[in-house]
């Protein structure tokens, strides 16, 4: 009997030793800009699996536009991935999000870029890990300035100083248009930020903070800029002219876009370019954007999910991540990002400076989930409807104000 017992125990022990540790497959919800970016991400994930052979990934690519609905579906069904990329933490999923202050301590969040880090906080909790940040700002065609014999604008220059200079360069250097500007709510909002306007209050509870008269004045001013300095009809809402193509093909002296273009200009621009300094209005402002990672407390592999998020947001990996994706690292301790050229490195530094100079609302406005409830569309429509002559600036701002109020009710 003893022999049988010992044999059985030995067999159990041998089986336990021989069986490999069960691998955890983390489900990752992510959105990418294209195949190249997806490949870069997969390479990074493979790198993690090499370091942690027990963790593999099931990468679920989702269109960015569908993220809001996707989060609602998660909340409705209770079925969630382990980790997801997002730019906004919908209230419906907040109860399911890991509190990073509890996991890593309340000071952990302070290592990230301030404005974007603030957006991850919910009272005493930290419900998301900042992954990368983006800044809105201007790019100049330095060669065109040199050809025209005009100095590139310096830090502290206002739009009133810069716009005539752009026109002068355009005329003297034979560049078709002084300025092109991405037809995007996000990029236009930056202009309103630069004149002290923003949509929502900076602190909870969220309230509409629009000074309608000031919004109207700045909107009229922006429409005038589109008429006097940009390609005709660019902001009509139906133009198929591409600002990026125009700038990279030297059809425009300056291009108002954002930090995500750095890598592309580095690879494609056949002229000397420079990012910033972005002109100011009454104040200096960029538009702080970016992405967060959230981990769901419903995960069956919560420890592995937390470990992965901590790895990818650590200063060392952030430096690699920012370089590979051509983005600004969210982690301020990731100082030595080896971008692919001195121009790119200078551009990144310029944008990081723009972020530092931005008011707090330049980060909080975008981070409010209310913005996803139809407000972005209303911001863009407020400009295109005026440019196309279908609305007055007063009506357009009133429409935007109403949409901002309605979004608060809808996102309760």
């Amino acid at each position: 009997m003893k022999i049988v017992k010992h044999t059985a125990m030995a067999l159990v022990a041998a089986t336990a030793l021989a069986t490999p540790v069960i691998a955890s497959e983390l489900q990752l919800g992510w959105y990418v800009d294209g195949d190249e970016q997806e490949q870069t991400l997969r390479t990074l994930l493979d790198q993690y699996t090499k370091l942690h052979p027990d963790t593999t990934f099931d990468l679920q690519i989702t269109p960015y536009d569908g993220m809001s609905e996707k989060f609602r579906q998660y909340a409705a069904s209770g079925i969630m991935p382990d980790v997801s990329l997002t730019s906004s933490m919908e209230p419906v999923v907040r109860p399911f999000l890991v509190d990073w202050a509890e996991v890593n301590g309340k000071d952990w969040i302070n290592q990230f870029v301030k404005g974007w880090a603030d957006g991850a906080k919910l009272g005493d909790k930290v419900i998301a890990a900042p992954l990368d940040v983006t800044a809105v700002g201007i790019f100049y065609n330095v060669d065109a300035f040199a050809k025209a014999g005009v100095a590139v604008p310096q830090a502290g220059a206002t739009w009133d100083d810069v716009l005539p200079a752009l026109k002068q360069v355009s005329e003297k250097a034979g560049v078709r248009f002084p300025l092109v500007w991405d037809v995007s709510a996000h990029r236009y909002l930056t202009y309103q930020f630069q004149y002290g306007n923003h949509i929502y209050s900076e602190d909870a509870p969220v309230k509409v903070a629009m000074d309608d008269a000031s919004w109207v004045a700045v909107l009229k001013q922006f429409v005038k800029v589109t008429e006097d300095y940009m390609p005709p009809g660019l902001w009509s809402g139906s133009s198929s002219d591409k600002p990026y193509d125009m700038f990279v093909n030297q059809q425009a002296v300056a291009y108002m876009s954002g930090s995500w273009q750095i890598q592309s200009f580095n690879d494609n621009a056949a002229f000397k370019w420079q990012a910033g300094p972005t002109p100011k209005g009454t104040v200096s402002s960029s538009n702080v954007g970016g992405n967060y990672l959230v981990a769901f407390n419903t995960s069956k592999h919560l420890d592995e999910a937390i470990s992965f998020v901590n790895w990818i947001t650590s200063p060392e990996v952030q430096a690699v991540y920012a370089k590979n994706f051509g983005l600004l690292p969210a982690n301020k301790l990731a100082t030595d990002v080896a971008y692919s050229s001195p121009d790119a490195t200078a551009a990144v530094k310029g944008f990081q400076q723009d972020l530092e100079n931005s008011p707090r609302y330049a980060a909080t406005d975008q981070a409010w989930p209310e913005m996803q409830a139809g407000v972005w569309d209303a911001v863009k429509a407020s400009v295109t409807s005026v440019v196309s002559g279908q609305s007055t600036a007063e009506d357009a701002v009133a429409m935007l104000h109403a949409a901002a109020e309605a979004a608060i009710t809808a996102t309760k």
């Binding site: 209230p91 009809g233 660019l234 009509s236 139906s238 133009s239 002219d241 409807s385 279908q390 996102t411």
Partner: protein, 314 residues
Amino acid sequence: MSMGDRTQISETGRSAAGLLRLAGRTSWPYLLLLPTVALLFAFTLYPLLQGLWMSLFRRGLVVVPQVPESIPVFVGFDNYLKLFADKDFVLSLVRTVLFVVVAVPVQLAASLGLALLLAPQTRFNAVMRTIVFFPSMISGLIIGVIWAWLFARNSGLVNYGLSLLGIPAVPWLEQDQLAQAAVVVAWVWGGAGFNMMILIAGLTAIPKDLYEAAAIDGTSRWRRFTRITLPLLEPSVVVVVVLGVIGAFQVYEIVVSLTTGGPGRATVFLVQNIYDTAFRKPNQAGLAAAQSGVLFVILMVLTILQLRVARRRG
């Protein structure tokens, strides 16, 4: 068992087998139809009924218990009543009707012209028919992108061509009426080839001796066209018009990639408005379903009317 009993059993057996055979014969076609009916029910009828049911509620697209606004509340026909006070919906409906009124006849005329031109069986015509038919095989989104490249005000091929002739750039996509006309052009280009093939099939089915008899009588070409070709082509024309009206009412992909509904909202048609209401505005799924219900009723009434008129004339 007597002989009579056996005969009776055998006759009963024969008649039962006959009945089974008959049942087999009559049910076989229904069995063959079953997969199609099941698919139609699953992907057309059920979503249609579900959509109509949804239109009677105020609700979000996804029901989330934590969001009270998303939870369905029965409102009867309130959503339908609301529609007529909704400026965006009314304007998009008017725009769509105008689009149908202009685009369908233009596409019919273009298709008929092409069909008459390319119907004769020659090698050249065979090549041309393939070329003209080609856009019908492209998705609406791509058609929109192609025309957006052509019509771009500051970088498009059309304005570049005009500039070579010293003509200033035309705001094809930035001026309301021109943008609407650009959508018509792109839509007609995308569908004319397919309609041309339907009309060519109709043309080849017209007996040649009718034309020969008319020629012997010295009838002019125009009279032959109006008195022989057009009347006998009517069944094909009805098909083209019915398909055209349905397609034009549902125009969406071309617009999204050509003008994205601009300038302002000048080219926002009904389907885009439905999409925007459902997916870009929070908790308006019931209202969007009501708009779809209105579109469904319009299309059904128009199709029935067109078919009845055609049958009466036939």
